[in-house]
């Protein structure tokens, strides 16, 4: 890009050279606003999150999802990877394992994730 030397200043933030005064003690600047460090309130700094805008912090802690995750992790009903939750529930039903009926009503209700928690991640 061709620019005149006069406009170079806009590209560089001009910093004033801090006067090297010996006596002055520079106070510790407060931790930067968006750091994922101990003192920070923000758990997910914007720079690290690439999700297109919306933070889905809420869904992970949804109570229904928790119940379904417990169902996913229960070894008695077999592996959960590669099979939808409803299919796994029905398979458990057919095998006589008596999976809880609430899971079925939850899954058929429609508002929950139908895939297991490992879907797309493994």
């Amino acid at each position: 890009m061709a620019t005149t030397s006069k406009n170079m200043n806009v590209f560089y933030r001009q910093k004033k050279n801090s006067s090297a005064s010996t006596g002055k003690k520079s106070t510790k600047s407060p931790s930067p606003k968006h750091a994922a460090t101990f003192g920070s309130d923000i758990t997910q700094p914007p720079a690290l999150v690439c999700h297109g805008g919306s933070l889905d912090l809420k869904d992970d802690f949804d109570e229904q999802e928790q119940v379904l995750r417990q169902f996913d992790m229960n070894m008695a009903y077999g592996p959960c990877v590669g099979i939808t939750r409803l299919d796994r529930w029905e398979r458990a039903q057919r095998m006589g394992l008596n999976p809880p009926k609430e899971i079925e009503s939850l899954l058929r209700g429609g508002k929950v994730k139908l895939e297991s928690l490992f879907d797309g991640r493994v």
């Binding site: 077999g78 590669g82 398979r91």
Partner: protein
């Protein structure tokens, strides 16, 4: 001498019932599942069964899972066996740094004296010790119950084994039957250099009654069914190397099928016939192999006596249950275990109640999610395997009165032997065709 007798010989008939529905995969949907699902289904079905058999075996001992094992506590555990084999080919060998210049020699059998067995269930796995369980007999994928205790080394010392045993057999009506024969032939390998078209033509002529005098024709009229057990064609590997075929070579690809179709049309016009795919046939590689497409048999598929079947194949003739495979399951057992003869392998698969225990470990298999179709629920009356080296047969008697005829069907292109079974008494004999003209 009369050339044409007045009465016509009628071929005997029998009622046929196909039980291949379990082996069809058209309704299955692949959703990215892995083989853990089929292993879970297998373990669950077999464990439920073994739990019901344990009280009759050793009722005083507690049953626990692998993680609940305590040192010194005598108990029973049920799980899937895994055999760790030193010589089993591993994909990582290709990346090993000590690769020798000479190509890796593939042995026919991967057994080694250092092989050991491990028992696994959902909670964990434990190495098995003791001499009761011989690693040379068992393979990965068999579900058993073990009685023993955990040693200080963390292994499980096996004192006794419980296999599922022969499945229950449905009682057959004992009415006096007449002689009705079923012919099994396997390994025709049409299109290979070793196949002799005259030999198969002789077989076809014999079965359809075009050979011999009236007595011989009368015998042929008692043949009610023919089963072709895999490897009916062999396409030369030079044509299958992945390069585009010239138009003159394309006709070479279809020639074996044309030849087979001509012969099958002659058979289908005369009696019911089942054809199963084998390892060299154009069907899917993984078990259960799906039926060969009817478009390969334009002539014979028009007959309603022609049936293209799955591999493994299960059917009933006059309520006698037949179950068999084209040989891949037994060949895989031969590679990973040992026995005196092939009939021992057949017997073991029946005692383990599983047609192909090494699937999916070393034998290609479809990743079923909700069932394991290779589990044997009901004991067959006839259990056959095709494409073996020689004809062998044995009558197996079970503890609950089951009676099974085990048959190893040899490759026809090499031996010229077909197997004939009498449905009345389950007796078997060989039918040999030779085309040598001795001087």
């Amino acid at each position: 001498m009369e050339v044409d007798s007045q009465e016509q010989l009628q071929r005997k008939q029998s009622t046929y019932l196909s039980l291949d529905e379990n082996f069809e995969i058209q309704k299955e949907v692949y959703r990215g599942q892995q083989y853990s699902q089929i292993y879970f289904a297998r373990l669950h079905m077999m464990r439920t069964l073994l739990y019901s058999l344990v009280p009759n075996w050793k009722s005083h001992l507690p049953v626990c899972t692998v993680l609940e094992l305590e040192e010194g506590k005598e108990c029973i555990i049920v799980g899937t066996l895994y055999k760790h084999m030193k010589l089993k080919p591993c994909i990582l060998d290709e990346y090993s740094k000590e690769r020798s210049v000479a190509p890796l020699i593939k042995p026919h059998n991967f057994m080694h004296q250092d092989d050991y067995l491990v028992l696994e269930d959902e909670s964990g796995r434990v190495k098995l010790g003791g001499t009761k369980l011989s690693p040379s007999v068992y393979v990965t994928g068999v579900v058993v119950a073990l009685h023993g205790k955990e040693t200080s080394a963390g292994a499980f010392f096996v004192e006794d084994v419980l296999e599922a045993g022969l499945p229950p057999q449905i009682e057959r009506p004992l009415k006096s039957r007449e002689d009705k024969y079923v012919v099994f032939v396997s390994g025709l390998s049409i299109g290979s250099s070793s196949s002799n078209p005259l030999q198969f033509q002789l077989l076809v002529d014999h079965i359809t009654g075009h050979l011999g005098d009236e007595e011989e024709q009368g015998l042929a009229a008692e043949i009610v069914h023919l089963v072709i057990v895999g490897n009916s064609v062999e396409i030369s590997h030079g044509l299958l190397n992945g390069q585009n075929l010239a138009s003159k070579d394309q006709s070479r690809l279809s020639e074996p099928f044309k030849e087979l179709d001509i012969l099958l049309t002659q058979i289908a016009a005369s009696l019911p016939l089942d054809i199963m795919p084998g390892s060299s046939d154009p069907a899917n590689f993984a078990l259960p192999q799906q039926p060969l497409n009817r478009c390969l048999f334009p002539g014979s598929a028009t007959y309603n006596t022609f049936r293209s079947c799955t591999n493994p194949h299960c059917f009933e003739l006059d309520s006698i249950r037949f179950l068999g495979t084209s040989g891949q399951n037994i060949d895989d057992l031969t590679k990973y275990s040992e026995a005196k003869d092939k009939l021992d392998f057949l017997e073991r698969t029946l005692r383990w109640r599983h047609l192909a225990p090494t699937a999916p470990n070393t034998l290609g298999c479809y990743p079923f999610t909700d069932r394991d179709p290779f589990l044997i629920d009901s004991c067959p009356d006839v259990y056959f395997v095709g494409n073996q080296e020689k004809y062998e047969t044995r009558l197996l008697k079970g503890l609950e009165g089951q009676l099974v005829r085990l048959i190893c069907i040899p490759r026809f292109c090499e031996t010229g032997v077909a197997v004939v079974l009498n449905m009345r008494n389950l007796e078997c004999h060989a039918l040999t065709f030779g085309t040598q003209i001795s001087s």
